[in-house]
Symmetry: C2
Subunit: 664 residues, 2 copies
């Protein structure tokens, strides 16, 4: 139907001006040696950021070596030039984050089914490691809710934390080790692109789903219930809570709700007034202190308010010897590690990149992976479980005005102090405050607006997001992920298998050819059909493209036959605009060859416009270029149409048949 | 380095001519209702060939109905207009194919570990079904070597044909049924595109590998050995043959070699002289007759020449009741069926399409699938095993001048006659002649030339081919397939994750911008960097593209700084040529937004050239278009550069710094 606007136009002189100048022929690039091509491809695939560019710029060898060293150990970037003023701001931000880190660490550790103190350990050692190897300034290291949830659901099945805490902890350390090893491997092998395949839409849905599940999981804490369930889907959790309705208690519920409201209000304030960011940062600590004191005064244990109880003093004990590298559960731990490793990478690198963008400096994804990997591998040997760069914490860090990764060191030292001296104070801290902290943190993760935005911008993305969300909420975290990845890969394959072909027409009085369905003003050239292929041509779409192009031609000829009374010019030449064809493989060249042959049988001329150098090389090697003929390969569509118009005796019938009102 | 050719050029008036005409603004398409978009996408994905187009063209309802009927039952295309002359040529070709079908059928049945007569059955019923439903004229139905091999290797593991022939046969029928059901389902669901994902390269490698394995498997027959192995990799087969060296016999070997030479010579002749095609077609039958008579006369059984023995008379018995749809082996049968189903489809549709191309008529892949599916489902109920359209047989059919699918009917009747009257004659047919027939057929499948061509045209394709080949030869058929599919999917994902970005320059004295690395004559515009993105922008490549573009800009600024002495214009504006960007998703729009913001921070102007309508719509909804500003979205790169040149006060420094020799 879009071809209905065919009008007879005279070939503008502008086009003639561009044409048949030797410079304007499409060159065939000289054959490049295979290894060279291979190397450049590998380089482009794995080193898109050209990591050692900075080094090569340096004049002397010594400075070059130092540049490389600086690339490998990012802290060398800022340590030498570290000043007092920087220290001041890092101190402030570091301490602020610590206020958040201590309660959050304890909460998430409980969420993961681990001893609370492990949560504190995990904010100590890994933070130091990251300070040395990490290249982001704002990222604040710590445990993440989603990771903790995944640990609980995947490892808990093999070793219920309540029954076999020791085995469970060992499993957690092992999984952390595998996560670190996997992350480091990805970084060293420069496979950052794996993370790219987790689309933002999928992550939003995934995080949202986890948030719902985690928040529901806190009901248990709010109602002061004992028995939890290992199932991690919403229905099971709710059922479990309801089934214990006999044991519901109002005291922890009231306390919890009050704390939750307090936390939400502070978050709201800090959102509204960026200068008051510290309110939301300090709120968790405040509520912990307040509730602890309260419980201590009213002797809450007696009133059914469960407390954390004894938290042991001292810094991280070594846990390297408790890694289970050859047990029946090793494979499970590895699976958990790889899965959580990828997810924490996805969140971490997203956080690092977004802050780097805001402050306008560059973060190397692969280096981040190595830093994450190192901090998890070291962590797994020092009684820490999975750590990453959670957004909430990093946001606080950057709001508090951190300047370098040193803020992580400050936080680590603050946590160290806590470990050494303050842990006994948590004895009376009620568990419900932890539930409140978790729940309020999770509410920040539910991005309803983002989902709505998705619906408006991209329906497919929205359904990816929704599918992932529902998968996580109603089945399990793993199912949600599988759904997401499956849909995304399917989408890629489909988009590859069904590229778009469009008919082009000329924008009046110019040499510019554009899609007729987009530009209503575009006019077709009589006797010439210009088709544009919008993707690489290869095995996955070659046969489809051939069918589709044939159909374009059938439709066009049918239309002309219908309009024959009007003396419409019959089709003589088909011009393929190869401008958007990035690459072509054997099936592709064969397709072009077959197409050329079948067009010849129909008495139609085939012309190519603006093929890229790779295309030209392959068409040349496979002798298709010679088949089509040098003179039928053009630099621009305008030239092609112009040449076809003059050389396919178009316009001969025209003089007789055309009625004047069709002339423009 | 390609940017080194930057030269100061005056903005040509030709460009000015095209620009700032209302018609030349890039329109934002009106939002389309979601369901409409969805429907058109589905239609384009599943019905690219618009099957009922012919019907809609018909004037009266009756004729429309008939057109639909004709679409569903292709034989209605030729039956009404069937003439005596057509019958004559179909008779000739049908009988010729029968000469090939009978010995091949018996041979392949033995290859599949089935009773020889089942091979004959399989050339009877399915051929009739295809004659009714098939839309190809040349395709000759029959069993295929690769399918037989796969049956033997996959089903043989569960039920050794020698020990439990009954169970094995039942499994074979069941697998055939599943293959048919799967093929029909693909056809009905219009999922022909699944087959597209088996690239030609993979198929060449796969077939070649199977050919090698099958040929080696025939050594057993040539040497008159009893014990065979179930392993289907070359090493195991050779080892098995060598291990029995004590029992090697010279008589069958001599006979077999003579026959093989004879078959090869006839093939060679028919290749050289197309008019003598019948030599290769008749050769198998001739050699069977000759060897049978010979063995009968010299009483070969006594001299250790094993014969086929008794082959029972009569037409296909029903086998529907022996289908194992609920046995422990059902899943295995289903797996085998689906695998062989896809492979036979790949070969079959390739054959049908290539012949249709040669004779310039159209074959509908999905209809072919339904035909294949029907013929295998019916076949599985009438004691036939997997059938398809093997190339060798179809080639003979078309050489023999077949005109319609009726030649399949003729062949089927000839086979029927054989089944009714001639089977006793095979009593003395030596097994070695079957081995010779198979081996010589397989030699035709080894396409060394094609592989060499692949190496020249496309290295990746070559390695896909080689990997598949080696996988099949040294591990197993399944491994080979897995290798192929894995490499292909990986290739697609990589090509999606790492699209190419190139810098464009203007072809002198024109408004045409082309890749600087391809066109040595292309010149950059001072102060403007034109980048072209060569693929859709979405989650899989968004972050990569951002990094890559940033790197382009860094390099460019570095280059300018280096050439600063030469009074080179400093960078003011970055133009993104979106012409080749077919689609964009949320991550994509976010990427453009982030890029715009970071460029603003660097004091660079961002401009878009030639975005497609989908792109415009999404940029508009996500407010990115407004962020960039209407006036910075252009129809062509030339306009963008032109406008930027006049509005980014470029050329101000120029007047002072530039030395005359840089002016063109």
């Amino acid at each position: 139907m879009m071809l209905g606007r065919h009008v007879v136009v005279d070939v503008p002189t502008a086009a003639a001006a561009d044409v048949r100048r030797p410079a304007a022929r499409v060159p065939v690039p000289p054959p490049r040696p295979f290894l060279q091509t291979l190397w450049s491809t590998v380089k482009e695939t794995l080193f898109p950021d050209d990591p050692f560019r900075a080094a090569t710029r340096e004049p002397t060898r010594g400075r070059r070596a130092f540049a490389v060293l600086r690339y490998l150990i990012p802290c060398l970037d800022w340590v030498p030039s570290y000043s007092l003023s920087t220290l001041r701001s890092d101190l402030v931000s570091g301490l602020t984050v610590a206020c958040l880190a201590v309660p959050q660490g304890i909460s998430y550790a409980r969420l993961a089914g681990l001893d609370p103190v492990i949560g504190l350990y995990s904010s100590f050692v890994p933070a130091l490691v990251y300070a040395v190897l990490g290249s982001s300034r704002e990222l604040a290291v710590g445990t993440m809710a989603v990771g903790s949830l995944l640990f609980a659901s995947m490892l808990g099945a093999a070793a219920p934390p309540a029954q076999e805490p020791a085995l469970y902890a060992a499993l957690a350390f092992t999984a952390t080790f595998f996560a670190g090893a996997f992350q480091a491997a990805l970084g060293v092998l420069r496979l950052g692109l794996l993370v790219d395949f987790l689309s933002h839409a999928a992550i939003v849905g995934f995080m949202g789903g986890c948030a719902v599940v985690v928040s529901l999981g806190q009901l248990k804490g709010f109602l002061g219930l004992e028995h939890s369930t290992h199932a991690n889907d919403a229905p099971a959790i709710v059922a479990n809570v309801v089934s214990q309705s006999a044991h519901w208690q109002w005291q922890p519920f009231v306390l919890g709700v009050c704390l939750l409201v307090f936390l939400q209000i502070t978050r709201y304030i800090s959102k509204r007034r960026p200068k008051l960011f510290w309110t939301s940062a300090a709120a968790p600590l405040v509520s912990v202190v307040f509730s602890t004191v309260l419980v201590y005064l009213i002797n809450g244990e007696k009133h059914g308010i469960a407390t954390i109880g004894f938290v042991k003093k001292g810094i991280n004990p070594l846990s390297a010897n408790s890694l289970l590298l050859s047990s029946p559960h090793t494979w499970l731990a590895a699976k958990t590690g790889i899965l959580t490793g990828i997810i924490s990478l996805a969140e971490g690198s997203a956080v690092a990149k977004s802050f780097a963008m805001a402050k306008n400096y560059h973060v190397d994804g692969n280096k981040e992976m190595i830093a994450f990997g190192a901090m998890n591998m070291v962590g797994s040997c020092t009684s820490c479980y999975l750590t990453a760069g959670p957004f909430s914490r990093s946001a606080v860090n950057s709001d508090a005005g951190c300047r370098t990764a040193a803020s992580n060191v400050v936080m680590a030292l603050a946590v160290l102090a806590t470990l050494l001296f303050l842990t006994p104070l948590f004895r009376h801290t009620p568990q419900v405050v932890l539930s409140a902290i978790i729940a309020s943190a999770m509410m920040g993760v539910l991005k309803v607006r983002a989902a709505a935005h998705l619906w408006r911008v991209d329906k497919v993305d929205f359904f990816v997001c929704l599918g992932t969300f529902l998968g996580v909420v109603f089945r399990s975290v793993e199912v949600g992920l599988v759904v997401a990845v499956a849909v995304l890969v399917l989408r890629i394959l489909l988009s590859v298998a069904r590229p778009r072909t469009t008919a082009l027409g000329r924008i009046p009085d110019s040499t510019v050819y554009r899609r007729m369905d987009q530009y209503t003003a575009a006019q077709g050239t009589p006797g010439v059909l210009v088709l544009r292929v919008d993707s690489s041509i290869y095995f996955a779409n070659a046969s489809y493209l051939q069918e589709r192009i044939t159909r374009w031609i059938d439709d066009e000829e049918g239309r002309i036959r219908a309009a024959a009374a009007g003396g419409e010019e019959s089709l003589r030449c088909v011009v393929l605009d190869m401008g958007a064809v990035a690459s072509i493989d054997w099936s592709g060249t064969k397709m072009v060859e077959d197409l050329k042959n079948s067009l010849d049988k129909r008495g139609l001329q085939t012309a190519l416009a603006n093929p890229g150098s790779e295309i030209m090389r392959k068409l040349d090697i496979s002798k298709v270029r010679q088949l089509i003929g040098e003179q039928w390969v053009f630099l621009t569509v305008a030239e092609a149409c112009d040449y076809a118009y003059n050389n396919c005796n178009i316009g001969t019938e025209l003089q007789i048949a055309a009625s004047p009102d069709e002339m423009v």
